[in-house]
């Protein structure tokens, strides 16, 4: 690849996008207290602007933008690279992190009269750490660097789970940490094998050198499995429901919307950027089957949950399953549609799910509980929150107009066009089951029952949640140019 040789215009933005949250994180440590919140709130909008600037540059160049750290090209140096999907994910992460930061303000503001509180400081620092890790994952071009980012992501996410210190949250966090470590070891083993076999860890160099040898396959299997553990693909989801359901709403939104997408993003990098030329149809089928199992099992179990947050968490298990259908659907002849579908699913789920968790948090605070059976009449007292849940649910079910609809619509087209009929079943069944659990939330809420508020909801938080679902809905109107943008920098078989 020619572009890996030099830094391209706009390449410095890639450094800035990593430096901004890292510096913010370090600065938050030093003065501490209330300053951590201020720093986080100030830096997130800048991060959004940076992400937009990167997207602009990628779009204008029509090819990935690159920055060579220290001016040395790989394999000696390290390259940062932003292609279409990186840019889109950077923007999505910036939006959701910004939303989470502003949403979390009332809960994690340092209380008056105290100079510093443990939970507030942890939250603001870890939020920025997650953001830094995600940005490295999205622009990183070196597998070992990506490993470090992956670790940072896990270690930043775990404290968010147990931030309120209740025993069950600590248990959930430990579960998450331990299982993620298994994943890390597996990933690292794979990286070591790659390095041993090919002497480089740079993604585009590896892509030129890999061949279908047993070492490469072993490395790929180990790395994939590690990433699956961190993405919580069924049946490796043991940590996700307790962790996502017990974390505070702002954290759950980031965990469900973004953190699991980080490791999934690396799975995409591995199979579509390093190994696209190798015959991997059967691997794709294995991943597709796991994804289908996740869709069905996750949705059915979601249907049976008594607590709203657990329901939403299991819905994440199901929606992660959809992501893995991209492997069978985006290999082969009609790969572009499958690719668009997969990315659309990442984005639609990220925004819709973050908004759902925000709403669940609002609802739990306003009603004092999140038992679905006791939601009777809640929509009348919390109209905006339920509007958000309904619109987010629309996207999860895959009804138009929404990003979720576009994703399913494209996935179905890709399955039909490539003759892989079998995937239409989980795609449609997942939609039906999602309709079932959304129905379970909305019908009691819209009924005639009377319910009283423990605490009136904060309008600003409701608006933030609604804005995120509005994005999930707006994704349904994405023009063709957006899908063309996602193709920038994707290696396509037969076109080196």
């Amino acid at each position: 690849m020619a572009e890996s040789g030099t830094t391209t215009p706009g390449g410095y933005l890639l450094v800035l996008t990593i430096l901004l949250p890292v510096v913010g994180m370090i600065l938050s440590f030093t003065p501490g207290g209330r300053n951590a919140e201020r720093i986080a709130l100030c830096s997130t909008p800048f991060g959004f602007a940076l992400a937009c600037a990167i997207a602009f540059h990628v779009n204008r160049a029509g090819k990935p933008i690159v920055y060579l750290v220290g001016g040395l090209p790989p394999p000696l140096g390290i390259a940062l690279r932003a292609d279409g999907i990186s840019a889109v994910m950077l923007v999505a992460a910036a939006v959701i992190v910004t939303a989470a930061a502003f949403y979390a303000r009332p809960k994690f503001a340092t209380p008056d009269g105290v100079s510093e509180s443990r939970s507030s400081l942890t939250f603001w620092i870890m939020l920025q750490a997650i953001w830094a890790a995600l940005n490295i994952i999205f622009v990183g071009g070196d597998l070992f660097n990506l490993y470090v980012a992956l670790e940072l992501l896990t270690f930043a996410a775990v404290p968010l789970v147990c931030i309120d210190g209740r025993p069950e949250t600590i248990a959930a966090a430990l579960r998450y940490l331990l299982f993620a470590l298994f994943g890390s070891i597996s990933y690292l083993l794979g990286v070591a094998l790659f390095y041993g076999a090919h002497g480089t860890l740079d993604i585009s160099l590896l892509a030129q050198r890999v061949q279908a040898t047993p070492v490469v396959w072993t490395a790929a299997a180990l790395m994939t499995c590690g990433l699956l553990a961190k993405t919580a693909l069924f049946p490796l989801h043991l940590w996700l429901p307790p962790a996502h359901a017990n974390a505070p709403a702002a954290a759950s939104a980031v965990l469900s919307g973004l953190v699991v997408k980080g490791s999934f993003f690396l799975t995409l990098r591995l199979w579509f950027y390093i190994l696209p030329a190798l015959p991997a149809e059967k691997v794709a089928i294995v991943l597709g089957c796991l994804g289908s199992a996740a869709i069905i099992a996750g949705s059915v179990i979601a249907l049976r949950q008594a607590r709203l947050k657990l329901l939403i968490a299991y819905s994440t298990v199901a929606q992660i399953g959809y992501l893995f259908l991209v492997f069978p659907l985006a290999t082969g002849a009609s790969s572009a549609i499958g690719w668009s579908a997969g990315l659309m699913q990442i984005l639609a789920h990220a925004f819709a799910k973050a908004a759902m968790f925000f709403s669940a948090g609002l609802l739990a605070e306003a009603l004092g509980h999140d038992q679905i059976a006791k939601l009777g009449g809640a929509a009348r007292v919390l109209p905006l929150t339920f509007l958000t849940i309904a619109l987010g649910g629309l996207s999860l079910m895959g009804l138009p107009p929404s990003g979720g609809f576009s994703a399913k619509w494209l996935m179905l087209q890709a399955s039909v066009a490539s003759g892989q009929w079998v995937w239409t079943l989980p795609i449609l069944a997942g939609g039906l089951l999602a309709a079932g659990y959304v129905y379970r939330i909305l019908t009691p809420a819209l009924s005639d029952d009377q319910i009283s508020l423990v605490l009136p909801p904060k309008r600003s938080q409701e608006v933030i949640a609604l804005a995120l679902t509005a994005i999930a809905i707006a994704l349904g109107f994405a023009p063709q140019a957006f899908f063309d943008f996602l193709e920038i920098g994707r290696p396509v078989v037969g076109q080196p």
């Binding site: 396959w217 299997a221 059967k282 099992a297 009804l399 449609l428 939609g431 039906l432 309709a435 005639d448």
Partner: protein, 534 residues
């Protein structure tokens, strides 16, 4: 964009959407809901213009949205818009609209207008979902167990139908070589599509659910009996026609397809007689009307089936006229139930010709509907079946009139008095308006020919006679409302058993040892797959 057709098409959608937007502003909501009878006015104009100048086409510059109104669509749009205007204007004269009900009403209306003018697959799917799903809010938010059950069943069928259609539409798009989402392009490509038969099967199943075709008929009687009279009138009159326009749009009429055409004819007549037979076992007038809808939608499916088998594109217009007549008559008949219950209306007797109009009583709109479909039911066994279905309908409608003579107090509450006052006009309109629209289809003077008069009269007389005989015999087996739905519910409950067992499996998989084993197994599976694949 500036010509008349585009303006009209855009306005007919933009107006209800504007009302919808206004509902999100606190101060405007009440007015927007109360004045929503104005929202379908542009659609009425569009429908009328469309009848003269069809097809109207408008390509919106954004996102490949296309609006298109052909003569069948214009006919149905005119009828539907008229119905929405009348009912929306009357329903909130006495008391202010309830937000939840009003909003569901407005959403359903928007979807209803949209399905007739949508010109591309995605927007059709959107409006089809809009006319189906929010309708839940018109009847199911209640503490009443039976109403909740009806709502859940309605929703289940609706969502299942949506899923089936989504796959069908995905196949249509994939079958179109250029990937165009316009309905016209996709339908032109369908006959040569490699997935033709699968697509057609899904289309018939998906829209068949909306039409209450056997065996997907169970939800319809439950829904209409649970819905308050104005909602039932709208859903059975205008809402169901989304399924009719769906079949009209998505069957490749004009290219002979005997296999599919004949199956649709069989399915259609099966529903037509099934509806009559099971309707006769019911006593609740609303339920009887629902079964009559099942039967009438079956006739429409049969008309379209014959057109499909013969490759006659004109069949679409004939079926649309039949549907438009049903649209007006069925809504007026639901109104009649409320009118009789309040007892202060002058002329409940108008319900008699109205009800028999469905069977094709001479001088009513039904006679014209029969005339319109005469080309399809011209000869042979289908002609006999069509006559038999007229007799059946007359029988069922006489049964309705007998049961309807015993008014219920609940019906009186459901029907606002403004609507009751409007009854004579509504009934006369439903009987006579089809005469005004018939010139679009053919020459109405044939309806006065002596042969046609006799042909129209004797099945009605025979059916009425049979109804009285049946009454004498007192043959009334007990069949639950929605007949086969009871079996489907039982099957569904058995399916629910998967839930606990999956939950147990989940609990086991989420234990550490199992998770470790899964991890190893997945590595092995990936390895095996990759090594054996290369």
């Amino acid at each position: 964009m500036t010509d008349l057709p585009s303006t009209l098409l855009v306005a007919s959608l933009a107006t209800p959407l504007a009302f919808l937007g206004a509902c999100f502003v606190e101060g405007w909501r009440r007015h927007a809901l109360a004045l929503q009878w104005l929202a379908p006015v542009p659609s009425l104009a569009t429908g009328l213009v469309g009848l003269i100048r069809a097809p109207l086409v408008c390509d919106l510059p954004v996102l490949d949205f296309t609006l298109r109104l052909d003569p069948p669509g214009a006919l149905l749009l005119t009828g539907a818009a008229l119905l929405w205007i009348v009912f929306s204007a009357a329903i909130w004269r006495d008391r202010p609209p309830d937000n939840r009900f009003g909003l569901s009403w407005l959403l359903t209306m928007t979807g209803n207008i949209g399905v007739f003018v949508a010109g591309d697959l995605v927007s059709f799917y959107l409006f089809y979902a809009l006319v189906s799903i929010p309708a839940y809010g018109l009847f199911a938010f209640s503490d009443d167990r039976e109403q909740k059950r009806s709502g859940a069943i309605y929703m289940a069928f609706t969502i299942l139908g949506e899923a089936i259609l989504l796959l069908a539409f995905a196949m249509l798009v994939t079958g179109e070589p250029l990937g165009s989402t316009r309905i016209v392009d996709a339908m032109a490509a369908l006959p040569s599509s490699p997935w033709r038969d699968a697509t057609l099967g899904l289309i018939v199943a998906g829209f068949g659910m909306k039409l209450g075709m056997v065996p997907f008929n169970g939800w319809m009687p439950l829904t209409y009996s649970a819905a308050p009279i104005p909602a039932a009138a709208l859903l059975s009159g205008a809402g169901v026609k989304a399924g009719v326009i769906g079949l009209i749009r998505f069957l490749p009429l004009g290219i002979p397809m005997e296999g599919w055409g004949d199956s649709l004819v069989v399915l259609g007549f099966l529903s037509a007689f099934y509806g009559v037979a099971f309707g006769l076992t019911q006593q609740n007038p609303k339920v009887i009307l629902a079964y009559s809808s099942i039967s009438q939608m079956g006739v429409i499916a049969a008309v379209l089936g014959i057109a499909l088998a013969k490759g006659e594109a004109d069949g679409a217009l004939d079926a649309a006229f039949y549907a438009a007549n049903h649209l007006l008559v069925k809504a007026a008949l639901f109104l009649a139930i409320g009118v009789l219950a309040t007892r202060d209306a002058a002329t409940p007797v108008l319900a008699v010709p109205l009800a028999l109009s469905l069977a094709g009583l001479p001088f009513t709109g039904g006679a014209l509907a029969k005339l319109a479909t005469k080309a399809q039911f011209a000869s042979g066994s289908v002609a006999a079946l069509a006559t038999l279905s007229s007799i059946g309908t007359a029988l069922l409608m006489t049964h309705f009139l007998i049961c309807f003579a015993v008014p219920s107090s609940r019906a009186a509450q459901e029907c606002p008095s403004a609507l009751v006052r409007f009854w004579p006009a509504a009934a006369l309109g439903a009987i006579l308006l089809p005469w005004a629209f018939y010139p679009v289809v053919g020459n109405a003077s044939y309806a006065f020919e002596i042969g046609n008069l006799v042909d129209g009269l004797w099945p009605v007389a025979l059916g009425m006679g049979l109804a009285f005989v049946l009454r004498r015999v007192r043959f009334a087996p007990h069949v639950p409302v929605g007949d086969s739905i009871v079996l489907e519910e039982a099957a569904f409950r058995r399916l629910l058993g998967i839930g606990p067992s999956l939950e147990k499996l989940d609990a086991r998989l989420r234990q550490w040892p199992m998770a470790g084993i899964s991890l190893l197994l997945i590595i092995l599976a990936l390895l095996t797959a990759s090594v054996s694949g290369s």
